[in-house]
């Protein structure tokens, strides 16, 4: 396989471009996704290739963006809708949660809703409380939705292609602080199936389960800890729904210790769900210490960047948590 070194953002764009070339029923809609290329420049250049018919600027109307995506999906198209910041999902929530997620079930299995709602999530840009949230737990809670949270260029490209080909509504949360981070990505067509976690680092002493940007921070923490002789295994679930429980359980059986790291507020966060899954599994008997959650504090994301840092886990927080548990 020939590999290319590209950014996360380019990987997202390539996935959309390749799928749009492959299937003419795939189209992109969202605010300023055309000439402007979207708020983060993800779709730059796409309107030149595909035209305004398939790369469609919309008014500031999140309710109708998500609702029209559902309507177009149930009638034969495969929309990719961009929500400018994941925070704005609140405005699209009815279209997504009460409509798209439930149509197939409510209609007795006679409909399919192949749509992707892409949105950049997370903090770290000094954008304050309404442009920095990690709301994945809200979405994971809704039967009928799939929820994807890729952390690397390789993962984001392979998973976005799978999302576009999937026949269900997929919420695709992009890690905005790694948009410009480079990684190796195959030049050939490839897809990554949903529900398969990736062991980003193999280790034997402690399992660190992390999502989004926390995968990168956990890997950094692992390198620091390696110098102290602590061998950390880092698991990235990549998709939260469906969830790969098996890979996690196997790892915990091996290490006997689990730390869950996410950026979202700890209270009601996805980490609680992960901990419960492990407690209910055969890995419970192998735990040598209580499960630990390293997560965002229960406050809105502040503007001041020093405060912002203190609100979400940093590399040091992960390092300290590991030291405490081993």
């Amino acid at each position: 396989m020939t590999m290319a070194l590209i950014t996360y953002k380019e990987a997202v764009r390539q996935a959309m471009q390749e799928e749009m070339r492959r299937d003419e029923n795939v189209f992109l809609l969202g605010e300023d996704v055309g000439v402007y290329g979207g708020a983060f420049g993800v779709s730059l250049g796409m309107v030149e290739e595909f035209g305004e018919e398939r790369v469609r600027d919309t008014p500031i109307s999140e309710g109708v963006i998500a609702g029209a995506a559902a309507g177009a999906a149930v009638t034969g198209l495969r929309p990719i809708a961009e929500i400018m910041f994941s925070d704005f999902i609140t405005i699209a929530m009815d279209s997504l949660v009460n409509q798209a997620a439930k149509m197939r079930y409510m209609f007795g299995g006679k409909a399919k809703v192949p749509m992707v709602l892409r949105m950049p999530g997370g903090s770290g840009t000094g954008a304050a409380a309404q442009h920095s949230q990690s709301l994945e737990a809200w979405l994971v809670h809704v039967p009928g939705l799939k929820v994807v949270m890729p952390s690397t260029p390789y993962d984001v490209k392979g998973l976005l292609k799978t999302a576009i080909r999937d026949d269900n509504p997929v919420v695709f949360i992009e890690t905005k602080t790694v948009y410009n981070k480079k990684g190796e990505v195959p030049e050939e067509d490839y897809v990554i199936p949903f529900g398969v976690a990736d062991v980003k680092r193999v280790g034997r002493d402690v399992t660190v389960f992390a999502t989004g940007v926390m995968v990168h921070r956990s890997l950094e923490a692992a390198e620091i800890l390696a110098k102290e002789g602590i061998d950390v295994e880092v698991i990235d679930p990549r998709t939260l729904v469906p969830f790969d429980k098996e890979t996690l359980v196997k790892s915990v059986i091996k290490t006997g210790k689990l730390i869950i790291v996410h950026e979202a507020c700890k209270r009601g966060g996805f980490g609680g769900e992960v901990a419960a899954e492990v407690m209910e599994s055969e890995a419970f008997d192998y735990l040598d210490a209580p499960i630990k959650r390293v997560a965002g504090k229960n406050n809105p994301i502040p503007y001041c960047m020093e405060l912002e840092k203190s609100a979400v886990p940093q590399v040091d927080d992960i390092v300290n948590a590991v030291r405490e548990i081993v």
């Binding site: 109708v64 409510m106 192949p114």
Partner: protein
């Protein structure tokens, strides 16, 4: 209004009567405690769905509302499968998973009744976009109430439909009330059709109890949409005969007004017209009535004799494979 034929008027009559008799039966069954949930009756508003859907085919889409039985029947829904759905039976349109507020059949172009007021508008816009994108000549129609036009989705949907010139027709069924709230208390305009002005699309107000008027107006809007001339808003003034749902006494309605509107019952109006034009005699109308009553009774029998869904299947169809 001259070109509505005898056959068309008789077809309208049959459809409207099917809706009325379906609703009468649903009311009776609900009052007897035989249906779960709640039912919102369409009685009194039959001319709207009938007149609009007369110009649609199975390739065209509709989005419906909580008060959806009439839209579904007019769009070709079968009363037996609908009744079975109200009974929560596996033979119902949604296998007993949806009920009155979610009946749908995508193959018939019915994108669902809806439990969320104002939710159908974005969906109809999306379906209309699919029609435009696929160049398939089809249109979509969005039915909604006067109170639903206060939702943000209404405004987002009309605006987007207008700027994208989508083949969608927004049909407002103005029965004057949002549950108990009189239109004069929930908006500061008399005609909802005025709202079209903000979006630069045609908006008209018509007598929603005159099926021929609804038919003619909708036909024009639908044909404009098919020709790529964009969306329209049609407001049909009408009246619901009963309360908001079966069991609501509707005490907030003015008694005299209620009486006046009952005299303007769209089915009575059509019967008179059929007789004046000598298109049908009383005996012929009676025959139609009996025939339709037979269909409704058979639908109930079908529903009663159908199996219940099995709890083992509760997780089926949450996701498409």
């Amino acid at each position: 209004m001259g070109d509505v034929t005898k056959e068309q008027l008789l077809d309208f009559y049959k459809t409207m009567l099917t809706i009325r008799k379906f609703e009468d039966k649903a009311a009776e069954l609900f009052a007897a405690g035989r249906l779960p949930g709640f039912v919102h009756l369409y009685s009194g508003e039959e001319a709207v769905a009938t007149g609009v859907c007369a110009s649609l085919t199975n390739k065209d889409y509709i989005t419906s509302t909580h008060r959806g039985h009439g839209h579904l029947i007019a769009k070709g829904g079968q009363v037996d499968k609908m009744m079975a759905e109200l009974f929560a039976k596996v033979t119902g349109y949604c296998k007993g998973r949806g009920g009155s507020m979610h009946i749908a059949d995508v193959d018939l172009g019915i994108l669902g009744a809806n439990g969320i007021v104002g939710a159908g508008q974005p969906i109809a816009v999306g379906a209309a976009f699919a029609n435009q994108y696929l160049k398939n000549d089809a249109v979509s129609v969005c039915f909604f109430g006067d109170a639903a036009s206060n939702r943000g989705t209404f405004h987002e949907a009309l605006n987007l439909a207008s700027v994208w010139k989508l083949p969608v027709i927004f049909v407002c069924e103005n029965n004057r009330f949002g549950i108990s709230m009189n239109q004069k208390d929930h908006m500061n305009i008399v005609d909802v059709s005025q709202r079209a002005i903000s979006y630069g699309i045609p908006g008209v107000t018509i007598d929603g109890n005159d099926v021929a008027a609804v038919y003619e107006t909708a036909k024009d809007a639908i044909s404009r949409a098919r020709k790529g001339e964009g969306p329209s808003l049609i407001e049909c003034k009408t009246w619901r005969h009963y309360g908001h749902f079966q069991g609501d006494a509707g005490l907030y309605k003015d008694a005299q007004e209620q009486e006046e509107w009952l005299k303007k019952d769209p089915i009575l109006k059509l019967e008179e017209k059929l007789k004046v034009l000598k298109f049908a005699k009383d005996t012929e109308l009676k025959e139609i009535q009996q025939q339709i009553q037979g269909q409704i009774d058979a639908a109930v029998e079908f529903a009663e004799n159908s199996p219940e869904p099995s709890p083992e299947d509760v997780l089926a169809d949450v996701y498409a494979p």
